[in-house]
Symmetry: C3
Subunit: 372 residues, 3 copies
């Protein structure tokens, strides 16, 4: 569960088509041209809006991504459906199909062309508090009640929404979006094209204490920072702690969902995606291209190999050495093994009864033999 | 665990009685009149303050809600105790009892009569940033450093505390409370009589990406919104993501605890309550009147029937079709079945020993038979 | 997993040594003097910076805390290593060793001597909104866009970063740090020397509702408060709810990690440490000196004895009566018992096969006996 979840309804871009093209209308053929798709049906059919495949109305376009929704392609009244190039129907299909290499990627391409955003005027709000010792790039938007401390450097075309805090000497790249309430502690670095959602905290102190002989904790200062590379997206209310020494590192292309805990000195490898409420404990290294479900726990001081997939709610307590493993359970074991063991776990009452039956029938048998 | 938890100490309203009535005093009879209760004991006994049942002093009122605290009714020095109408004592009880249909509901009624709030003067703080293109209702309070963007519409008698962010075209009803630091992204809708606690995020982007052939993620824009209906309460630091297309919907009367993750395109049905740190993944539909414990995970694209109860830390990975099921475990199974299997899980070392013993005794037996 | 995790890299203070002493240099002997350590090797070796043990370069100092990193002491090029006084090498060690009673404590002591902070000028920002009915101590720093409501009292030498909200009648001690975006609801109390990280919420309403006969929830007002004693540290985005009546209490020396949920009327005992994403449900009492892993769930209305250790992701559903227990699993049982049972859980397919084999061989045997 909680794997990266391209739900069946990512035809969001189509709303944007509407915004831009209405009252103009587009044909199936025009859309196919935009995304390099192949028409299967009437290319002149006119589309004037989007819909979900299960609710599709005539004159709308929708798509089939998740196979769970295949049945709807035979009943939808939508006029156009984006499908995988290899889609085969076992019943007649009414809509015009546009066949593409990768449905979700096509959606993403279309959306890039058509997507709009809330328009922001570049410039610095008079009600922001920006240090005169900070450097602000070109065409950058800084909203009300933002705080930017001395030594901070903000790139070009960056959007900093209201009530964001940017600490001393923070460095932020180009084309970055910080949504309202993001807090970035001193000395942290955020790369280009990164998007950080509301109330995320970057660079708070790692959880490090030394216990004295009375059992009291003494704080171990956390003097490192957080480095977030390019093309990262971070979900709301996620926390990434600064390193005790050195850096906590989120590498290029990483996607973090909401409410995630990344502890001090962790490294998360390129293009790894992590779902909500997962925790990675201190000093662990997560490889690249991993897919980690929601509410997963990863212990401290371990390594997770590239391409590891971890099922939601699993607890990984030791290093995963070979790449592309698939894990489940607490402590986590191989995915299929967990499912097999769990199938027997469910039957434990019957299994125990079976053992008793054997014992009983054996006892009876022995008794009989004796009396023979 | 983590079911809705009316702890034994919800006599909070009584503090309010004190605020309002002191140095005045009320009698047991007057309180019984207010809540339609039946006096069992001295109705003239005077109450001048509240207390917990386990710490009750003479002259105070307390209540018995959770049966775990029953023993204290025989030892408390409190003068008055609210109890269920069917309460039967097996030892002498000193305090005056007020018997009511539903102890907690009576508490709630009393509190509604007596509860006070921090007094807020209606009006818009000069240090708020409110767009001239926003519409603000009557008798509404907008605190310092609030941001309200163009096109937003705020109803009457609504309280918006400091440092809240309200995005473009957001719609907020009447009698709503937004506590400090709440962030509401553009186009979201919040119904009447709804209370949203500090640092909640409503409407951030759903976690949706398409992977290209190089394994890089491309963002799928999330162009829908969040709709929160009337009479909803949402706990601190909870996140509700906007839909990719359409709406993420929190229906009437839903109660969400703190630090919850509601993913894009989820629907949560009427009067469902969810405890802290639970995650509902994308496009799932949770029915009405469900009670969901803390740290539960619900997979994407599934349906949870009305009245389902889910024990804390369970992971629900497939649809729950019949109503009023009770579930436990990861993956979740029927509650009692889980407990039975877990009881045997604890005994697995003994069970395995038992199997070995049978094997051994059978081997010995066979050997003996041979040598006969 | 997720126990308090003094990762191998807490030589953070050394960076501070650099800041203060560079371009000056210190000798191993000078460092040993500072921390009361014993030199084992060349005391004149010069240190001009810190490094991690696994990456150590000549001229740097590092330390060996976690035994997992012992191998690196034989290969590191660092010039000086802090080690436990009882450390024994089984191969030649090149660096000068400084032997100390407790490596982490020595680090903490050194850091206290050398650590620097971002310098803040005391005083109240003109862009803060501070009630004239609030009392602010000496040498206290109040940053931009902070809100302090009437009746609040703030001690001396306290730092309140930007966008913090302090409600009516809140009391805050001396030497407290509130990082950006912290929200403290009315009537809560925060002790001396306490540090609260960004976007933490203190004192939001507990999750308490009474259900009426139609199944609708009625809010039970939460009229108590939160009391945080001295020397507490609270991680980012953690939430501590106010009591319904009375107080939710975080006792002296408690350390809470990020994204933790502490429900209403909970007490957490002295010097207990809790890792990220853990939830303690309503009215439970956690003892002192407990160590609680990440993503643990503790049910409502139970007691956890002093010194209890709870493994990450465990779910504790009943009171823990004897001190110093170690627990694992959901529902949690004794730690070693869980591991033993889990070892057999993994082998369930083989165990079931074994039962089948016994049954089969017994059946064959019986058949043979018959035919004899």
């Amino acid at each position: 569960m909680f794997y990266i979840d391209n739900s069946s309804c990512y035809s969001g871009y189509l709303i944007q088509v509407l915004y831009y093209l209405c009252p103009m209308q587009v044909t199936a053929g025009q859309i196919a041209d935009l995304i390099g798709g192949v028409i299967d049906g009437d290319e002149t059919v006119i589309v004037n809006g989007p819909s979900r495949i299960e609710e599709g109305l005539s004159g709308t376009i929708t798509f089939l991504g998740n196979p769970k929704y295949t049945e709807y392609i035979y009943t939808t009244n939508a006029s156009v459906v984006l499908v995988d190039k290899d889609f085969t129907s076992n019943k007649p299909v009414n809509p015009t199909l546009i066949r593409v290499e990768n449905v979700y990627e096509s959606l993403a391409i279309l959306m890039e062309k058509f997507n709009s955003n809330i328009t922001l005027s570049p410039g610095i709000s008079k009600s922001a508090s920006v240090s005169s010792d900070a450097i602000i790039g070109q065409n950058t938007f800084i909203d009300d009640f933002v705080i930017i401390k001395p030594g901070a450097r903000i790139g070009d075309n960056t959007k900093i929404y209201g009530q964001v805090f940017i600490g001393d000497n923070v460095s932020i790249g180009n084309n970055v979006t910080l949504y309202p309430g993001v807090k970035v502690y001193h000395n942290c670095e955020i790369g280009n094209n990164t998007m950080i959602h509301a109330n995320v905290v970057i660079g708070s102190d790692g959880f490090g204490f030394a216990r004295d002989e009375e059992g009291k904790y003494k704080k171990i200062p956390q003097t490192g920072n957080v480095i977030i590379e390019d093309n990262v997206e971070i979900g709301s209310n996620t926390v990434i702690d600064r390193a005790s020494i050195g850096s906590t590192i989120i590498k290029e292309g990483v996607k973090l969902d909401n409410l995630i805990q990344i502890a001090h000195n962790v490294t998360v490898g390129q293009n790894t995606a992590i779902a909500a409420l997962t925790a990675v404990a201190g000093s662990s290294e997560v490889g690249s291209n991993c897919m980690i479900g929601g509410q997963v726990g990863i212990s401290g001081h371990i390594q997770i190999a590239d391409g590891t997939m971890i099922q939601g709610q699993s607890g990984v307590t030791s290093s995963v050495k070979g790449p592309n493993a698939k894990l489940y359970g607490t402590p986590a074991i191989e995915f299929q093994s967990y499912l097999k063991s769990f199938a027997y776990f469910k039957k434990l009452p019957e299994i125990v009864q079976q053992i008793r039956d054997i014992q009983t029938s054996f006892d009876i048998f022995k008794e009989k033999q004796k009396t023979k």
